[in-house]
Amino acid sequence: MRLEPRSEVSPVRFILAPVAAVIASLLLCSGLILWSGASVFEAYWMMLTGSIGSSFALAETLSRATPLIFTGLAAAVAFRARFWNIGAEGQLYAGALMVTFLGTGEINIHEGLLPPILFMGSFAAGSLWLFLPSLIKIRFQVDEVVTTLLLNFVMLLLVSLLLEGPLKDPMGLGWPQAAPVLESAELPRLVQGLRVHAGLIIAVILALLIWQLQIRTTLGFEMRAVGLSRNASQFAGMRVGNILLITALISGGLAGLAGYSEVAGLKGNLTLDLSPGFGYTGIVVAMLAQLHPLGVIGSAFFVACIFVGADAMSRSVGVPNYIADVVVATSLLCMLVSMLQIKYRIRWKS
């Protein structure tokens, strides 16, 4: 088998790539659905209606998509610079912790200032949690994949420790959870009675900002150049080390904001199960979007549909809702092959 570079880049192929990947993964996973005894068509139909078939479902999907936009952006920004930040999960919790420190009334902060302070604080917390692995990578050339991953586990233990100790909600009936955030810190719901909240607006705005950052600013330009060719960037005079560090900090901060959004917008307080793997799913979201910030909005929505739809599916046709994780993981692998097809033609003879 041989790979032959294509002589031109077709925009059609570019847009179809994620679509092809998703269709391929849905087809591949239909086997698993059959195994559970359900009808494939019925199952996927339930998934569709359960995610966008009613205003309630749509609101659920949007609220599920919100943290995914944040972590998707975090992965997209980092991966574009070929900086493999797999620690978004831990950075998310770091942000959530900061919100809990600052936003539950322990510290006296003026009401009006609370939201921006929480915003900046959770961003800073996420950045900080990624700072150590970045430094280790730049100084010691230790692969950031392993360090960011291991720190995820450390952060979860830290949260558990704090939730059982100093941050424990005195009115929480003994459950390990933190005190709820103050009302002034809450992100308001967008629609009465539905769970979609202002975090979504923040996420979309950030996606737009990042997009503009990448297109219009010198920093965005540097980040893209460094990610695509470190040699040529350095030759052209860019300070590659600094650019990588800034990229890492932005990425970590975005993931931290996911924590802010979940605590202050959805759940109201920090619990150990705040994130069912948003950090990791964010990676798939980013790849499906081909690392484009606007694309992240779309692919986050799509992935949220899969998860919310799978919950509905499992309730009605009895397919375990883990099917969502399988579909999402398969999409990632199919997407990699799809992206290859954009640049290369696969020839089966040598």
């Binding site: 990791y280 990676i283 883990y322 990699l336 696969i346």
Partner: protein
């Protein structure tokens, strides 16, 4: 008992060897992959799927060793998938590995849920029982620790020797090692780089799956969620710590496991003065420290993570 006396108890060393076993399998497996030049980040997921497969086979009526073999086969299938994407197609080893971990983990949970839809506490199986080796197990202190363990632990020890011998003393091992250093040298001799890498990754992944199977079929006797809990990533750090040598991998795994066993007992001794989470964090932090310490002096396989495109010169 004080913190120092823990080291002298037999039960401590027994626990250390037991805890080391999945780490030995996992580190060996990853080591073989990386020696051939492929970083296999699917290890965490493959261990999970191996754990589930082995356990499930026994739950469905198979005997223990069949369960282990099935787990190994599932592992090598995942290895084949990884290899097809990264070696044959040259896709990013980082992203593919994460994808395989996500896929294998989610498959484990899905299939488990499918077979056991409504369980509140995970059902148990008849796990491996310890098999004391006659005579040797009667040696005071280390006899208990080394020779009164699960048969899978003995397998782990044997594999360390076998992998070491194959890697360093056979033509196959030489070919694998050279593939990880300079694939052009291998290609120049007319050998198939892709075939060698695929074989190595499949074998390594089989070992990773057995690591997982050990957890559900020997250390514990049930499968629960988040069972592997980062052991896969720790193995990746251990491979670097071991400088890609099987012997050092064994040593590293034992050292690490000893540390882990120690902190568990230390908790009981110190009591609630320090929260238990601090102790649980230590293995991960220790791995990071180990990586930093070793990073300077290590001779990494030179072609690790560089996809080989035939004919590109």
């Amino acid at each position: 008992m004080d913190w120092f006396e823990i080291l002298w108890t037999t039960s401590f060393w027994v626990a250390a060897v037991r805890i080391a076993t999945p780490l030995i399998f996992g580190t060996l497996g990853e080591l073989v992959c990386e020696r051939a030049g492929v970083l296999n980040l699917g290890i965490e997921g493959i261990m999970t799927l191996g754990a589930m497969t082995g356990w499930m086979s026994v739950y469905m009526g198979a005997d223990l060793w069949t369960g282990v073999i099935l787990a190994a086969m599932v592992g090598s299938l995942l290895g084949a998938l990884h290899s097809m994407l990264t070696v044959s197609l040259g896709l990013s080893q980082h992203v593919t590995g994460i994808g395989i971990t996500l896929l294998a983990s989610s498959l484990s949970y899905y299939i488990y849920r499918l077979v056991l839809p409504e369980v509140t506490s995970p059902p148990r199986i008849e796990a491996f029982t310890n098999y004391p080796i006659p005579l040797l197990s009667e040696i005071p202190w280390i006899g208990e620790a080394l020779f009164n363990q699960s048969p899978l632990t003995y397998l782990a020890f044997i594999l360390v020797i076998v992998v070491g011998l194959v890697l360093y003393r056979t033509p196959l091992g030489l070919a694998v090692r050279t593939t990880g250093e300079n694939p052009s040298a291998v290609e120049a001799q007319g050998m198939n780089v892709i075939g060698i890498r695929t074989g190595a990754v499949m074998f390594g992944s089989a070992l990773m799956a057995i690591a997982g199977a050990f957890l559900t079929m020997s250390a514990f006797n049930a499968f629960f969620f988040n069972m592997v809990n980062g052991r896969g990533w720790i193995c990746i750090a251990l491979v670097v710590f071991a400088s890609w040598h099987p012997g050092k991998a064994l040593f590293g795994a034992l050292l690490f496991a000893a540390f882990d066993a120690y902190q568990m007992r230390l908790q009981q001794v110190i009591g609630s003065a320090i929260p238990y989470q601090v102790f649980l964090m230590l293995p991960y932090l220790l791995s990071i420290v180990a990586l930093i310490l070793i990073s300077r002096r290590v001779a990494i396989p030179q072609a690790l993570m560089i996809p080989y495109r035939k004919g590109e010169r």
